[in-house]
Symmetry: C2
């Protein structure tokens, strides 16, 4: 606890990312490691959400975290303080992670030791949606201050996620033009099967539903009853 | 007023974006059209800032707007309602605009008719920072809910901007871990010449300083006393 490494990952020389992603998913299945790819805009609350999730689950499952950023290491510091093993991945200026970069991060983390590994992707709603990382579930955070029009502007991100957490609901009083019913409708029009949770990572409101879903998905993965997510290309 | 077109732009077949950008800047100088490239995360308040800026300046200068998005047209609708001519640029899935895409947008807008054209870039802190659009000034919005650690994580964006607007200061009461002194220090450590304005596009607080800077820059451009911005590569 309290330790993390910084690694520099390089883009694969092979161009078939979808094949790399399927191969990585098969490897994770063999290892029993459930990989979640967590995406959002910069500052939507990925790290705070992750810290609260780690604190809630760390006595039930072994959790590892990969923090991807262009630069810096503040997130890896934060999650190790919450009690998870972490690696900080520097992407060399890249705006997303592909499956091979994810594989390099998992190797550095020693992923077979974990039941759950969360990849905190680069803060970006565009490019990460286009690249299958090999994760078994893709989850995105949309924060209330960003506005309820985001599903209209970043359709691929919303299509490629199995769950959306609408975060910072504690700020709904200030951002009173954000309409929870409307955002739900817009997400479901892009992706009718999407699970939607309204949460505050700051106060913990709404977290029980999200944690319940995550526990069920881990169980389903471990028991072999999970199908690979469908990936839509741009 | 109240009209806008949607255009689909394509990536240049030429790969020398820096050359394209310099050529476009020279053309804009000849036309007397001051182009500002406005960048931020999704939902930081670019459109609201733009609307308030248009309302304040529309009787002094002729303003055109290019709204770049993966999809949708809500922003072009909003700025035309504020009284500017606009084109909605669809990027075909691209996460940024390059100089040639910007040129196509300016052509559709008929840019020589305007004193000021604002390009609202795709909401993204990574890729737009890497591509010189040919603008005479690069401005970014950082919103308070995103957190004061963003200059540490997205250094290139902060290096390539001549001004940063720290927006949504009306929400500082809710996001009380955001430290205005610290964010200023972090921005200036990346970019010592950066102009920083603390504003609320919602309430108008702090706008006079920002508008004053913009007026002075337009004047400096028109009088021929402006140097091209230095562009740092990734």
């Amino acid at each position: 606890m309290g330790e993390y490494r910084i690694i520099e990952v390089k883009r694969s020389v092979f161009e078939d990312n979808n094949r790399d992603a399927d191969r990585l998913r098969a490897q994770l299945k063999g290892d029993g490691t459930f990989l979640v790819n967590l995406m959002s805009s910069p500052g939507a609350g990925k790290t705070t959400t992750l810290k609260r999730t780690i604190t809630a689950l760390r006595d039930e499952v072994r959790i590892g975290v990969m923090e991807a950023d262009i630069d810096g290491e503040v997130d890896a510091q934060a999650v190790t303080q919450a009690g998870a093993k972490a690696v900080q991945i520097h992407t060399g200026g890249m705006c997303h992670l592909d499956a091979d970069m994810t594989r390099q991060g998992l190797h550095a983390l020693g992923s077979a030791e974990y039941d759950l590994v969360v990849l905190e992707n680069v803060g970006n709603l565009v490019c990460p949606a286009e690249f299958d990382t090999g994760a078994w579930r893709n989850v995105m955070l949309l924060s209330v201050p960003e506005g309820d029009d985001k599903p209209l502007k970043y359709p691929l991100m919303f299509k490629n996620c199995q769950a959306v957490l609408v975060n910072k609901i504690d700020a709904l009083g200030v951002f009173d033009d954000f309409d929870c019913g409307r955002v739900k409708e817009r997400i479901l029009s892009r992706n009718p099967d999407c699970e939607i949770f309204f949460v505050s990572a700051k106060t913990g409101e709404g977290f029980e539903s999200w944690l319940g879903w995550l526990r069920r998905e881990i169980h389903r993965f471990k028991s072999g009853g999970m199908e690979a997510p469908r990936h839509y290309d741009a």
